[in-house]
């Protein structure tokens, strides 16, 4: 059961060190947050989509287009009502608040697209190793890695339980909210018990293999910075610096907005 977005391809982005990809992800977030004018935020989105195409990940965006649309609409509607401006458009919506809502909708979608690129081009094992190399304690990174591996197994168990209970006549679609909520009990209890029962076995297996017995560890997977990483980081830093200079020079703002 493959639930993850990772696409096994051999692109320039796939070959980058996972730490480089984490830094590019953070830089994408920062660039998206610097501006509040829709034109400038859309320009950042354009750059991110170019990066997405380089990573061969555009196909994954099709899977989440509805999510991007609904989050964008929520943001547009919310900020149009909550932010304030000076040029009335309709009801309490002003041209400035609408522009800000639109910019924020693009901002959120830009960040999600950047996240999708990262997940489409980075294996779970690489994410874990990058976290360890970036200073996250091994036990915490291991728990994260173990959880990532177990999600498909548990999701499969949960699906099996749902199908088994449905075949016995459990109807999740009828009744009011309270009745429908209570129907989740026979689904959740077996999943939880199954999970909890495996704790001792897993802990013993880990300790049997020397988990936590030594501080220093070696890893089967090796990562390291190459020329491509330095090139990608240099381009990203230059773009980030340019965006910062533009922001400080007053570009990318919406005049008359009080948000």
């Amino acid at each position: 059961m493959n639930l993850y977005l990772y696409l096994d391809r051999d692109t320039f982005v796939h070959r980058l060190d996972p730490r480089t990809k984490i830094l590019l992800l953070l830089a994408s977030f920062a660039m998206a947050l610097l501006f509040s004018h829709p034109f400038y935020v859309a320009s950042v989105l354009g750059l991110i989509l170019l990066y997405c195409a380089l990573g061969g990940s555009l196909g994954n965006l099709r899977k989440i287009w509805f999510l991007l649309l609904t989050i964008g609409l929520l943001s547009l509607a919310g900020w149009s009502l909550f932010a304030r401006g000076q040029t009335p458009l309709f009801w309490r919506v002003t041209w400035e608040s609408f522009s800000y809502g639109l910019a924020t909708a693009i901002k959120i979608d830009t960040m999600i697209v950047a996240g999708v690129i990262f997940l489409s081009t980075t294996k779970n094992e690489e994410v874990t190793l990058a976290l360890i190399r970036l200073g996250i304690p091994y036990s915490a990174a291991f728990a994260f890695s173990m959880a990532l591996r177990l999600v498909p197994t548990f999701a499969g168990t949960a699906s099996t339980v749902v199908e088994a209970q449905r075949s016995r006549g459990l109807d999740l679609e009828s009744g009011n909210v309270l009745e429908r909520a209570k129907k989740y009990i026979p689904l959740l209890a077996p999943v939880f018990l199954n999970t909890i029962r495996s704790t001792d076995q897993l802990a013993m297996a880990l300790e049997g293999k020397g988990f936590g017995s030594r501080r220093g560890r070696t890893f089967y997977l090796e990562i390291g910075f190459k020329k491509g990483d330095f090139l990608a980081l240099a381009i990203t830093l230059a773009l980030l610096a340019l965006a910062l200079v533009m922001r400080m020079a007053g570009f990318g703002r919406i005049p008359g907005l009080s948000a």
């Binding site: 919310g78 309490r92 036990s139 728990a143 949960a158 909210v177 959740l188 909890i196």
Partner: protein
Amino acid sequence: MREVVTMWRYTKMVVLAALTAAVYAAILIPLKGFPLIPGFTEFRPANVVPIVFGLLFGPAGAWGSALGNLIGDFFGTLSLGSLFGFVGNFFYGFVGYKIWGHMGWLSSGKGVDIRSGRQFLEYALVVFLSSAICAAIIAWGLELLGLLPFAILGSIITLNNFFTALVLGPLLLWLLYPRVYRWDLLWTDIMDEKDVSTHLSPGFGALFMWSGGLGGLIAGLALSTGLYGAVPFTFGAGTVGGAVVLGVLPFLALFFLGCLLM
């Protein structure tokens, strides 16, 4: 909060954190609920996991909730908001085990196997505070980044978390607690007392946690919707940005101080 750090020395606690994270993320997928606000949020049975596993597995449940929420974002919604989702979900699982039994006359004086009205009352209060602080942290974070108004996210997260955990939690705890107790998997059975924080001032701690958690949510909603100073039956001209961020911040600080005192 010492146990939040020292728990990583215990293999069983590491495994419990991983299992909590995995089950939280996993049941989000096949047990997707029905929409509360179509397109925006839905009734999620998975929201009961941080509360139930937090009460049973303590800090492992809290860390597992945070990691599980982050993994949930790995299915397409990873963004800077995930950072605040991580912190908010950590405290969603943290509050329960920390404050249970420390709310004076409101506490039942018994364990978390919900078998009496007094235990249910204590459980409902714990769920409410957990939901409120989770909502306040996430909504505050997204307001800080200028991504979503506090009022929208604060109210939706509070109601969603509270409702789910209130309906599903008592029955699940009633079923799970005796088994977890029998299998010696309660966090208090796994961790040594020396690795658990000493209660510096549980009374003040609980008071600060309540004042900070509830106060933060109320202040955020009031400032964001313009309820403060608003005329009845009109849509308030709310405040966004700096005022909400600064208005909620002291309450969050008070909540964290309360956590340190517990």
